[in-house]
Amino acid sequence: MLILECPYCGVKAEETELSPGGEAHLKRFGPGSSDADFEAYMFARKNPKGVHFERWRHAYGCGKWFLAARCTATLEVFGTYPAQTSEPPAEIIANIMAKRPAWKGFK
């Protein structure tokens, strides 16, 4: 069972308290964008077998959205961080690099 620490209220929440929200750090494309950009925003996902950044909501806790870095091949959690950011914070990246030296990096 997944256990993620909510970065807002500090609770180590197990999966039953949380709802998953899919890939994080998607760049939003709206009216006026090209079809390819809008399709990528709506549907194309990295879906990596390995390091994945994703959105979670502490649904049965503080109710807030936060982000997590997790390995989809082993379910290892690299860390969680608040959602008010456009890319993963440096300490999360450093933590991932320490555990997954072959990781190609965010983007």
């Binding site: 998953p20 809008f38 549907f43 194309a44 996902r45 994945h52 994703e54 989809t72 091949a73």
Partner: protein, 415 residues
């Protein structure tokens, strides 16, 4: 290939059963092929089978990372039905269901297709309206279904409690010609028929790269070396994103774990398949007597072929009101498979941005029922280079153009 028959059993019995040959060969890969299929699951093997049978393309290799039929083909709940709302879905699933009816004869391999009937329970008024609509759509599509009363549900499945306080049974969409099959036998039967046509099934061989020249595929790098090909079919379900990445394009697909479980074997008590989409559960009884139970996917990206325990608990909790007997049953085994979910919950059978490279993926939680139809349509696409009528609507560009085949709304969750 020696044909399986009652005479073969008698002949081999006199020989102490020492004369049975291997069902399929395990050759080393040749330098190149006319077509390579990546993925020896049901869909991949069916594609190869119909390439040979319908289109005469027999210089084919099927490459498999693990062992044949060891992915989702060996991990599903074996339900076969075709009561879909959208026309293009109904067409391909009904093609598959009708091919299942004669598959044992076609393959000379008993796939144990059992058309015992599938009912999808309506447990809210919204669902009643939805299934009435589906029943009307099905009668226009030529798929035999009907909306039946709660009393008829009780007659068909007496172990069910139809007047639960929270989720009473208000009726059901009944497809009498749906049912179940033997999932492993489908893969084994196709594999045997493919091998008999001279195709090479190469197991324990992982694809590590896709080689191309001037925008056209030339072959695949594998753990057993480079293998050249004129045409490439990617049929790898949960790992579609990985192989597509090697071929240089991205798919509208996310991989998630879907779990199923079986109870201890009990005496025959239920001879239909029941799906309850409001509460996310479906159940049938296997020939061994186990109750085979499935639910919805875990909600997050996952490649581990195991899921979270609370989903198993949720599925059972949901079914207990309708099947009170479940509360006294011990659960025996639980497992997970990695399903590839698309945005509209319909599959992709498509050309790709890479020339002569084709993809068949996105079957999500409901691929087993579609195996023969999917293979038929994919073989058509690979042989002709253009999709036939079954596959035409399922191209990967429908997401850009907004031509969804929206079964996520039409079919509810389990599908």
């Amino acid at each position: 290939m020696k044909r399986y028959s009652v005479f073969a059993i008698a002949r081999e019995a006199l020989n102490f059963h020492q004369g049975w040959e291997r069902a399929w060969k395990s050759p080393a890969p040749k330098a190149s092929y006319d077509a390579i299929i990546v993925g020896a699951g049901g869909h991949g093997l069916a594609t190869a089978h119909y390439l040979g049978k319908n289109h005469g393309i027999r210089n084919v290799a099927i490459i498999e990372k693990g062992w044949l039929g060891g992915g989702n083909t060996g991990r599903n709940t074996t339900i076969i039905r075709s009561n879909y709302l959208q026309d293009s879905s109904a067409a391909i699933y009904e093609k598959a269901r009708s091919l299942y009816e004669t598959l044992s004869q076609d393959l000379n391999y008993n796939v144990m297709f059992s058309p015992r009937g599938v009912m999808m329970l309506a447990q809210t008024h919204h669902e009643v309206r939805g299934y009435l609509r589906t029943a009307h759509a099905n009668s226009l599509q030529g798929v035999q279904t009907e909306f039946i009363s709660p009393q008829r549900v009780k007659e068909l499945c007496p172990i069910m409690n139809i007047d639960g306080p929270r989720y009473p049974v208000l009726g059901a969409l009944w497809q009498p010609r749906g049912g179940t099959g033997r999932h492993d036998a489908v893969a084994w039967g196709y594999a045997r028929a493919c091998s008999d046509m001279g195709m090479d099934i190469i197991q324990q061989c992982e694809v590590t790269g896709v080689r191309s020249e001037n925008g056209k595929v030339t072959g695949v790098e594998t753990t057993k070396g480079f293998i050249g090909t004129k045409k490439l079919g990617i049929v790898v379900a949960g790992h579609s994103g990985q192989v597509a990445d090697m071929a240089g394009f991205r798919l509208p697909v996310e991989s998630m774990a879907l779990q199923a479980l079986v109870s201890e074997p009990i005496k025959p008590c239920m001879d239909v398949v029941v799906m309850a989409n409001t509460v996310h559960g479906y159940m049938s009884q296997s020939d061994k007597g186990e109750m085979v139970i499935g639910g919805g996917t875990d909600g997050f990206n996952n490649y581990t072929q195991r899921g979270s325990f609370q989903h198993v608990e949720e599925t059972l909790r949901a079914l207990i009101e309708t099947f009170p007997m479940l509360s006294r049953l011990k659960m025996l085994r639980q497992w997970g498979g990695i399903v590839d979910m698309t945005g509209d919950r319909s599959p992709i059978i498509s050309k790709t941005p890479l020339g002569n490279c084709f993809i068949n993926c996105g079957w999500g939680t409901g691929g087993f029922k579609a195996i023969p139809g999917s293979g038929w349509a994919m073989a058509d696409l690979m042989a002709k280079g253009e999709p036939g009528p079954l596959a035409a609507e399922f191209d990967m560009w429908r997401f850009r153009e907004g031509r969804f085949i929206d079964e996520s709304v039409a079919a509810g969750v389990a599908h």
